[in-house]
């Protein structure tokens, strides 16, 4: 008798646990390229940036002089970031490369990957924008299909983070989180933490030939308030991206990465 009651109790526990599991499961997220997802009714995007783009460094009629760096101006750094910023400035004054992880074949990561002097292929679909940089073929995707950021306990942190976009009028607003912080810096050695968060406000201007991205970056462990910077890209219809790898045995032949003037 006792044995049968225990068996019933165990079965009940299993059922309850199973039900709880079912309730906790997220509905399946269709892939961005799933035909069913692509076919869903959505408002038409105000523009399509499919094409090849490169950051425009020269001053043009459309935009002011454009730097490949995100500062100055810089926000007020907190001690850890200030220490690195100062060390980077000192190294620069001494003509040394400071913690130049890119030169050691680490990915540039966001936002720096967007401002390498290499073209970026961008493909826009109703559900997603894919970006592949000509530099190291760094891959980025911006989901447009209404999904939410992954549970922080599930997301795999990455150099380019997890980007979710939505339309606000003629602007695409892209929210990016879940960055890996190791060997991932901005400008000259400025570190980020796990709390680094980025919002990009993208617009096509200049008759669709110029992509403007206004960056707002926050990291409450590294700086106060918002770090803002606006960059511009131009269409380059006569260029394609190609396979580009950073290889350790190639680096061994490059004076810049091998020089003693690198501060590791």
């Amino acid at each position: 008798m006792l044995r049968s009651k225990l068996a019933l109790l165990a079965a009940g526990v299993c059922l309850i646990a199973g039900g709880a599991h079912a309730q906790a499961s997220e509905p399946t997220q269709l892939g961005a390229l799933a035909p069913e997802n692509l076919a869903k009714k959505r408002p038409k995007a105000p523009w399509n940036l499919t094409g090849t783009w490169i950051q425009e460094s020269a001053k043009t009629a459309v935009h002011p002089a454009n730097s490949f760096r995100f500062g100055p101006p810089y926000p007020k750094f907190l001690p850890e970031a200030q220490k690195e910023f100062d060390a980077g400035a000192k190294a620069t004054a001494e003509h040394r490369a400071y913690k130049d992880y890119i030169g050691q074949c680490y990915p540039a990561g966001m936002p720096v990957i967007m401002t390498r002097v290499w073209p970026i292929a961008m493909v826009q679909l109703p559900t997603v924008i894919y970006m592949v940089s000509g530099f190291e073929n760094a891959f980025r995707e911006i989901y447009l299909d209404g999904r939410k950021h992954l549970d922080p306990d599930l997301v795999v942190r990455s150099f380019n983070g997890e980007s979710i976009g939505h339309w606000e009028g003629d602007a695409l607003v892209v929210d990016t989180t879940a960055f890996t912080k190791e060997h991932h810096t901005i400008d000259t050695g400025i570190p980020i933490s796990d709390d680094f968060h980025m919002v990009e406000r993208m617009k096509l201007i200049g008759g669709g030939k110029v992509l403007e991205i206004a960056y707002t970056m926050t990291d409450p462990k590294m700086w106060e308030g918002e770090w803002t910077s606006t960059k511009y890209w131009k269409r380059v219809d006569d260029q394609d991206i190609t396979e580009v790898e950073c290889l350790p045995d190639l680096d061994q032949h490059l004076p810049s990465t091998q020089s003693s003037l690198n501060v590791r």
């Binding site: 003509h95 390498r116 290499w118 490059l254 810049s256």
Partner: protein, 123 residues
């Protein structure tokens, strides 16, 4: 092969290359100086993200040294007339570089003069 490592405080503009498709810092190169290397090509690698040339050069005492010369990307070099066959091992060349500030045997590419008198810049 005659050694000639002439440091010329450069009229940089005369040799100025366009922005290199660099994948990292160039802080270690002295862009204010041009150094000429007369030597023989040991290797020319046509690759992304940077091509490179290794040139064997004799110093003032006749000692041979291999200099590493960092170039831009092939896409950039093609626009300046380069091909993968432009340089071969054994070619006599005069290469102009922005030297490393450390005095190590290396620099960033400015231009090359080939044995047949052809001059090529980086972009």
């Amino acid at each position: 092969m005659k050694t000639s490592a002439v440091i010329a405080v450069a009229v940089v503009a005369a040799f100025a290359a366009g922005p290199v498709l660099a994948h990292h810092s160039y802080a270690m190169f002295d862009a204010a100086q041009n150094k000429q290397l007369e030597g023989v090509v040991q290797e020319f690698k046509w690759t992304n993200p940077h091509s490179y040339i290794e040139v064997v050069v004799a110093d003032d005492k006749g000692q041979m040294h291999t200099w590493g010369v960092e170039c831009g990307s092939p896409a950039q070099m093609v626009k300046a007339g380069w091909r993968s066959s432009t340089l071969k091992p054994g070619d006599k060349v005069t290469v102009t570089i922005h030297p490393l500030r450390s005095g190590e045997y290396g620099g960033s590419f400015v231009q090359v003069q080939t044995a047949d008198g052809k001059t090529l810049k980086g972009s």
